[in-house]
């Protein structure tokens, strides 16, 4: 290299590294990252103890990385670079066809699954309530044709088949065929691991046969696209540029006009939708106000029946459809509910209990087993 090039080179590298250091020092520290949905590392405590244990150093390294100037941009660039290299997936999310970002399946934890199924069967065998289960397939199973070549993993199909076979006292609803037949509609979000409101509607229709109600025809609903700029969980893992955003639909019906919700922390809400979430990144939480340990939905315009739903977030866009048929719907999230589930069920006066999960959560969930703690 010529003398001048050498000097320029050294200066540029020096400027890049020193500049990054200075930017990092000057720019104020961020408390949390909306994109990563977590709190970011702050400057660690500096003491002889933390140095001797090495905690200061490891936290400092996290601090440098978490507070790196332009962090979100770089994470996005890396995901984009992986896609350009034809790498087919990034951080556990497939770059699927038609602009879909599909979450890879977790490894099924069979011990947890068997415990969950046993708990459900135990509950049903009491014959105090009718127990129902809906374990919904995720995009990696239903949209298997959109996945990159050879990426399909049949472990979820096997899981769902096992659930069907194992549950005897529990009435199991398998929506796989219904969803597959309606693949011409958008059943899952492109940027999020949840299913769309339309897919939930199809499941709601199929549930009518077992729960005992006549599903309301689709034409009777007013479909309201509450946002067209939804970038969900799978996009957080693979934040490529030029990703088509998702639209979240809310289906309104006259029977839902007088609904109120009471949350576990004594707060109340009128209606089923929490619009405050629409201005945040986590727009899916517009349904039933997202993650809640427990809530009770009261619909004075519905027949006098009570339903208890033990669920994960997939159920949040399904439950609104059910509220037209039950005066009281009590909803529990077993991750956060640690009291005795059986007494809750007895106190609620419910005749029907519905377990509604998606298969990916169910494959590793250890909380459903709480429902089976019967003395």
């Amino acid at each position: 290299m010529g003398k001048r090039t050498e000097l320029v080179f050294c200066t540029l590298v020096g400027a890049l590294l020193l500049g990054t250091l200075l930017f990092g020092v000057i720019l104020p520290d961020r408390q949390s990252s909306e994109m990563e949905n977590r709190v970011l590392q702050q400057f660690p405590v500096l003491s002889l103890k933390t140095i001797a244990s090495g905690d200061f150093m490891s936290e400092f390294e996290c601090y440098v990385a978490d507070q790196f100037p332009g962090r979100d941009l770089f994470v996005s660039l890396k995901a984009q670079s992986e896609q350009w290299q034809g790498k087919k997936e990034n951080d556990g999310v497939f770059f699927a066809k038609d602009g879909y970002l599909i979450e890879k399946l977790p490894t099924v934890e069979w011990r947890a699954v068997n415990n969950s199924l046993a708990a459900l069967e135990d509950l049903a065998s009491l014959h105090e309530f009718s127990v129902f289960a809906l374990i919904a397939p995720t995009a990696a199973e239903t949209l298997r044709d959109e996945l990159p070549a050879y990426a399909y993993d049949d472990s979820q199909a096997q899981l769902l088949d096992t659930i069907e076979k194992t549950l005897t006292d529990v009435t199991c609803t398998d929506v796989r065929a219904t969803l597959t037949q309606n693949r011409d509609h958008q059943l899952y979000y492109r940027t999020d691991h949840h299913w769309t409101t339309y897919a939930a509607y199809l499941a709601y229709c199929q549930l009518g046969e077992t729960l005992g109600y006549t599903p309301i025809p689709a034409e009777d609903f007013t479909v309201d696209p509450v946002t067209t700029q939804f970038y969900g969980t799978t996009w957080s893992k693979a934040p490529i540029a030029n990703q088509q955003a998702d639209t979240i639909e809310v289906w309104h019906h006259p029977l839902q006009e007088h609904i109120t919700i009471a949350f576990s922390d004594q707060a109340t809400m009128s209606g089923l939708y929490d619009d405050s979430y629409l201005s945040t990144k986590d727009k899916y939480s517009v349904f039933l106000s997202g993650t809640q340990p427990s809530l009770t939905i009261t619909n004075p315009d519905a027949p006098d029946r009570t339903l208890v739903v033990l669920r994960d977030s997939y159920a949040n866009c399904l439950i609104p459809f059910l509220t037209a048929h039950y005066r009281t719907v009590a909803v529990l999230d077993l991750r956060y509910y640690n009291r005795d589930v059986l007494s809750f069920l007895r106190q609620s006066g419910a005749q029907q209990v519905l377990f509604c999960y998606n298969a990916a959560t169910f494959a590793t969930d250890r909380n459903v087993a709480k429902a089976g703690l019967i003395d």
Binding site: M1, E61, G86
Partner: protein, 461 residues
Amino acid sequence: MVFSSLTFLTVFLPVTLGVYFLLPRLLRNAWLFFMSLVFYAWGEPVYLFLMLGSTVFNYVIGLLLGKSVTARKRTLLLVVGVVGNLGLLGWFKYASFLMQNLNHLFGFSVSVPTVVLPIGISFYTFQIMSYIIDVYRGKVSSQRNLITFGAYVALFPQLIAGPIVRYSTVEYELSERRETCSEAAQGLARFCCGLGKKVLLANSAGALWDIFKATPTAELSIAGAWLGIFAFAFQIYFDFSGYSDMAIGLGKILGFHFLENFDHPYESKSVSEFWRRWHISLGTWFKEYLYFPLGGSRGGKLRTVFNLLVVWSLTGLWHGANWNFVWWGFYYGVLLVVEKLGFSKLLVRLGPVVGHLYTLFAVLIGWAIFALDQPGTLLPYLGVLFGSGTAINSQFCYQALRYAPQLAVMAIGCTTAPAALFDRLTKKRGWAVTVASMLCLAVCMIYLVDSTYNPFLYFRF
């Protein structure tokens, strides 16, 4: 601390180099020593004192050796030095392994407290021993300045993962080096290249190997098993040679000229050639300080075979306190013996293609022995490699398609072609090297931001 981390790149390096070049020449070794200690203590806060103690101990031995004249005194000092150093290494790295085997063999049930292995102990112990032995042999004069000696021992570019720099290589440069802009530029380019090898290639190859390593043998296809071993071969090469590149590059910036540690080993046409091109500083060390003292090849065929097998088993053991490493070393010892006894002449006659294929095959099988260190995993995996399983499955197809472009880049990266291109460009189109290095550095930083934690494969050293 590791080179491939944001803290090193954006905090440690600018501060260390910035102050280094602002300081008057007299203070530079002291600063280097100090910052190297910070670098070491960063990963190993308490063992810093171990390293300092070892430095002082060897400094004293070196001085005494320099002053003593009687052969008996010198030999005594040498023995004390070597035993002291090896003893420390033995305790921290091998005590537990040794005890487990003695327990197994004799039915004892002595338990050895689990000691955390200090980082770099294998490297700096060998490095220090090269100093002691060379002073004993009269090859170098003892270093009187403790700071300068400390800088040699702790020098952060090669403290953690080599190359093992013999004192004679840098004796002059420790006190008389001159840093130049030209060397700094070359060093930076080399550093960026090494960083790219580590962050962009090695980590990727490692992720691919991890997939196959974690798959139960029953679900592995033959093609998949081979793809896995290729991935590991790429990982360890780019990891280790990348780290050596970074060490050599950093050394150059500071005015040091370390010897090359890797010379495109996968291009070798025989196993003997492979070991002249892979981890050269280790092979050299064992040859100089163990093989030759044992007699080398001067004691007749039988003695030579014995020497080779002992040296290579110990070379294997150096890599880790586990039997699979010993077998790995022994495996190569056997191949080297066979080649020495006439096979290499046959290879030359059979032509370069046969030589390449034979070497690649031998090396890949060697890597399987090296990588599968959990008991009970090696033999099943070897079984699949040699045909027990389906030929191809969807796991293989998906991963092969997924990594195909990168694997092609890695394969090219193992040849001398990129280095030759780099040399040509450096002479004729320096700006291209500048742009490529900057781009590489930027992309690496992007990838490092994405993955906060990025351990080096050889980190147990």
